[in-house]
């Protein structure tokens, strides 16, 4: 994996992001890596989400990305079928 460390150390944030990306961006189960060592899949999905929402594409769980993941929204995935 070429992914770098995740800035946010909060376990809740990591779990939120994993759940969010699995539900809305088709992150395959078991391929998210570990907190502090995210997999390339995880980082790629963060980037996909950041691209969708026109955030700065960093692949990191920065504040703007996490804030958006906490917003109330529609349950339909943003990508895929």
């Amino acid at each position: 994996s070429s992914a770098g460390p995740v800035p946010s150390e909060d376990l809740d944030d990591w779990l939120l992001a994993e759940k969010y990306l699995r539900h809305f961006y088709d992150l395959p189960v078991g391929l998210q890596g570990r907190r502090g060592e995210p997999s390339g899949h995880f980082t790629a999905k963060i980037k996909e989400m950041q691209r969708f929402f026109k955030l700065k594409v960093t692949g990191n769980l920065d504040e703007n990305t996490l804030d958006l993941m906490k917003e109330p929204r529609c349950g339909v995935p943003d990508v895929g079928e």
Binding site: N64, C74, V76
Partner: protein, 367 residues
Amino acid sequence: YNHFPRDLKWQTNDVTFRIVNYTPDLEKSDVDRAIRRALNVWSDVTPLTFKKLHKGIADIMISFGSREHGDHNPFDGPDGLLAHAYPPGEGIGGDTHFDEDEHWSKDSSTYNLFIVAAHELGHALGMSHSTEPSALMYPVYSYSTGYPLSEDDVEGIQALYGPNPNSRKVKPKPDAPDKCDPMLTFDAATELRGETLVFKDRFYWRLHPQIPEPEQVLIKSTWPSIPNKVDAAYENPEKDLVIIFSGIKMWALNGYNLVDGYPKYIHRLGLPKSIRKIDAAVHIGDTGKTLLFTDEEYWSYDEATGTMDRGYPRSIEKDFPGMNDEVDAAVYHYGFLYFFHEHVQYEYSYNSRKVMRILRTNSILNC
């Protein structure tokens, strides 16, 4: 806009719907009305017609449920997921589910059923999520008034079904402003407790000094009672207030909270009744004066006494040499006035009384 894979759509323009159950949060008639209005949003711009069934299987089955509600796509309690819908097709296709753990309303107090229903019914007709922040099909909830569809939504649904052959004129919302448009103009700008807010159309950008990338937000999603268009704004740091102007009214904010007793008429500041809007406003902390710009003139308001200074209005061009004769927005930083006019920004030294630099308006938006 986006469609679902294979551009799923109804193969007939005559679609049936049925409201299977009702939320206790609203009167039955309010739910019926919200759903009917939400369907009309889409039928107004397409050849689609919607017929209500009271029993049996309809194309679009609408229901309220919480947590696991029978489709193996559970909801999650209050907030988070609000609703979902399935793209056109047999069986569960078209079905629309609302999370009963949300509190549904017909105003801005909680999640507005009409707005969420219009979004979900978009899915039921074949629209997927849009990346356009101003679009109804943007995935994140935001409250807004007025016509709910943006140009992006109209383009998307008409790509599937074509336009309404008997259309009455609709006025879709324009797309969100692009911060890197070189011709970008501002409606208003102000400081707010160390951040800078820049207003444009129905949106504002929020700039934090330590975060290079500005955040774009719908005005209504932060302040539902402020109009969609802001003319001017300024911060009075001594009073910890931001005053927002729109037309002949003004609102006061303490932080992000609206202050009771507003809106008030702008004429309470001492402006003549002939003034119908303020183009720009800026507070000069060093002098305690607030400058209010209207057309080619400006006024000086003394915040301490709450009165308009004598000898005003005065000419912008005369008193600010090098500046254009009209102003769209203005902010004050460390002795410099930043005047925004069209796509140009003038850095004006208050002490030297001259323009020091000319920049693009959107240079403060990290472009």
